[in-house]
């Protein structure tokens, strides 16, 4: 098993269809295959431990990914926005590597003895197909190494083997299932798991890929119109900005987009509700997954979104906050602190099992238990019908008076206030309680009364969840892939704590 099999099938089945880029000057599946072979031939000439990509999205991304797979070398996309020292640290951890990057990154990385770096432009200039020996079909070969964003510490490298990625695609995508007019807009960066998964899914489906070099809401909207985009995936912060930009432009609905999927973080319900109105006939998909699970493991489909939008039934409305149900071949289980499986409605840690679940870091080895279960470190619960509700990282749990409370649960309650656009809850040190709750709110049209916020939480949850402080900000700190930086908030609001040290 090798992800090259997916590209080879596309090149056999749809040789002349545009795989990536604009219809007039993009690369066909056959051309993408040939370029991957040319790249592989060069990689095979060197004795490599990694192929590093450090640049914005471009056609070079799939060429590096498949070229590396063909040559049997792990593909390692790095965050080109990192500070020079951090980038050098990560590249050093890759060992003997061929690096492809923007001019500045290439120059920087080339300083390392073990790295041979070249600019993306010169990498893509080598187009003539040179025969490469056939690729390995060992399913255990490492296809991709993805560094975690390190929001909670030193970045770890998640290991994805060919069998994980191929299993994910075969289980979730129909070969050549896309119509000839379909095109997907990729706006997540290459070093995000969705940046890898979107390439594999779209190529296997036969859906043309259009990339945004870097995300900008107006650019995104214009590209959707210009390129006839039918499918797109965004992280929540991107959708917030798209909705704002559309409203600034006068609020005309977008009708051409058939499918819009979002995931990778907490989606504020009010934003989603506005998006459902601005994209009135688009199929919305909420996907939940992790780097360690080869992307999506549960999804909330289009019908559930529209049902929730128009329903008066609270259960159906509430489904908008759900991550949906498990993909075929994926098992989900909620467990308490002692590992005991929880009944429907009971909150605990989300465990997942399936062929696509890698659950492995280079630094720690496999973290799967004997039965193949992976602990996501996300908290949440399943409802009676198997819908998963994710309530945030267990590392973010607030412990007040010995009671564990998930920020997500409190945030979900606060978000039901019509004038709350976004919210984060954190714990700050408290002499009396250990920690107490601070709610940091981005207000909507008017600033809500803090008393109303507290009353809302008291009414929906236990009184222990009521914020001790309600603060207002213009914007919450997210990283570029939409992960909320709670660490930054905890630092910013540490002065609200009353415990020493």
């Amino acid at each position: 098993m090798n992800i090259m099999m997916l590209l080879e099938m596309a090149a056999d089945g749809l040789p002349d269809r545009t795989a990536i880029g604009s219809l007039d000057d993009g690369l066909s599946y056959r051309e993408l295959f040939d370029r991957s072979e040319a790249a592989a031939a060069r990689f095979l000439d060197a004795d490599l431990e990694a192929v590093v990509l450090c640049d914005e999205s471009s056609a070079a991304v799939p060429v590096a990914l498949f070229g590396a797979a063909w040559a049997g070398v792990p593909y390692v996309p790095l965050n080109y926005r990192l500070a020079a020292n951090d980038l050098l640290d990560l590249a050093t951890r890759c060992g003997r590597a061929h690096a492809v990057g923007d001019a500045a990154s290439a120059e920087l990385l080339d300083q390392l003895d073990a790295v041979n770096a070249e600019p993306t432009s010169s990498f893509m200039a080598v187009a003539s197909p040179r025969a490469a020996t056939t690729w390995s079909t060992n399913p255990d070969d490492v296809a991709v190494l993805l560094f975690t964003s390190g929001t909670t510490g030193v970045p770890k490298s998640a290991v994805l083997r060919h069998r994980h990625l191929v299993s994910y695609i075969l289980a979730s995508v129909e070969f050549m299932g896309a119509g000839v007019d379909e095109a997907t807009l990729v706006s997540v960066p290459p070093y995000h798991i969705a940046g890898v998964a979107s390439l594999l899914s779209s190529i296997y489906a036969g859906r043309r890929i259009v990339q945004l070099a870097k995300f900008d809401a107006d650019d995104w909207i214009d590209t959707v119109e210009r390129e006839g985009i039918t499918h797109a995936m965004v992280v929540p912060t991107m959708l917030t900005r798209i909705v704002d930009a559309l409203e600034t432009r006068g609020g005309d609905p977008i009708l051409g987009l058939r499918s819009l999927s979002y995931g990778g973080g907490k989606m504020a319900r009010p934003v989603l509700q506005r998006a459902l109105e601005l994209f009135p006939i688009t199929s919305f998909v909420n996907a939940y997954g992790l780097t360690e699970t080869s992307s999506t493991i549960t999804l909330l489909g289009p019908d559930e979104h529209r049902l929730a939008q128009y329903s008066d039934d609270p259960t159906e409305q509430h489904r908008l906050s759900s991550a949906g149900r498990a993909l075929p071949g994926i098992d989900i289980e909620i467990r308490d602190d002692h590992g005991k499986p929880q009944a429907a409605g009971e909150v605990g840690e989300i465990f997942v099992r399936g062929e696509q679940v890698a659950g492995e870091y280079r630094e720690q080895g496999s973290l799967l238990d004997d039965d193949g279960w992976f602990a996501t470190r996300d908290g949440g619960y399943l409802d009676q019908d198997g819908y998963l509700f994710v309530q945030g990282r267990n590392d973010d749990v607030i412990i007040r008076g010995g009671e564990n409370m998930s920020p997500g649960e409190i945030e979900e309650a606060i978000l039901t206030h019509p004038n709350v656009r976004d919210v984060a809850t954190i714990g700050v040190p408290s002499r009396e309680w250990g920690e107490h709750v601070v709610a940091v709110i981005v207000a909507g049209a008017a600033t809500p009364d803090p008393e109303d916020i507290c009353a809302l939480v008291r009414g929906r949850l236990r009184s222990s969840r009521v914020p001790a402080h309600v603060e207002f900000v213009d914007e919450l700190p997210y990283n570029e892939t939409g992960k909320l930086l709670r660490r930054v908030l905890r630092d910013n609001y540490a002065h609200l704590g009353d415990a020493d040290g």
């Binding site: 080879e8 998964a197 489906a205 999927s261 996907a287």
Partner: protein, 101 residues
């Protein structure tokens, strides 16, 4: 007879068909075009499918048996049709999951 296991790849000896095992384990009489399939590799194609096994295999389609304990994905198309333990395999229904990434 070949040993089925998920991920194993086999090819026809009488046409260009190649498959990867999605589901199925154990000793199986796997044929394509009426001839036994072999492990994928550099194997010469000779002869042609027998007339009762020449409906063809389509690229990217999944083929399964009645009992649904064998499923093969065609990674290369060919003129021969697939059978397992004497039973002709038929195209499995397409999945309809929405695109999520």
């Amino acid at each position: 007879m070949v040993e089925l296991k998920p991920g194993a790849r086999f090819q026809s000896t009488v046409c260009t068909t190649q498959v990867i095992v999605v589901k199925g384990t154990g000793e199986t009489d796997l044929t394509c075009g009426g001839a036994a399939m072999v492990a994928a590799g550099a194997v010469e194609i000779s002869g042609s499918p027998t007339s009762d096994a020449a409906d063809g295999t389509l690229l990217g389609k999944r083929y399964g048996n009645e009992e649904a304990n064998i499923e093969l994905l065609a990674t290369k198309a060919g003129d021969g049709s697939l059978a397992a333990n004497g039973e002709a395999l038929s195209v499995a229904e397409a999945k309809t999951l929405p695109a999520s990434d």
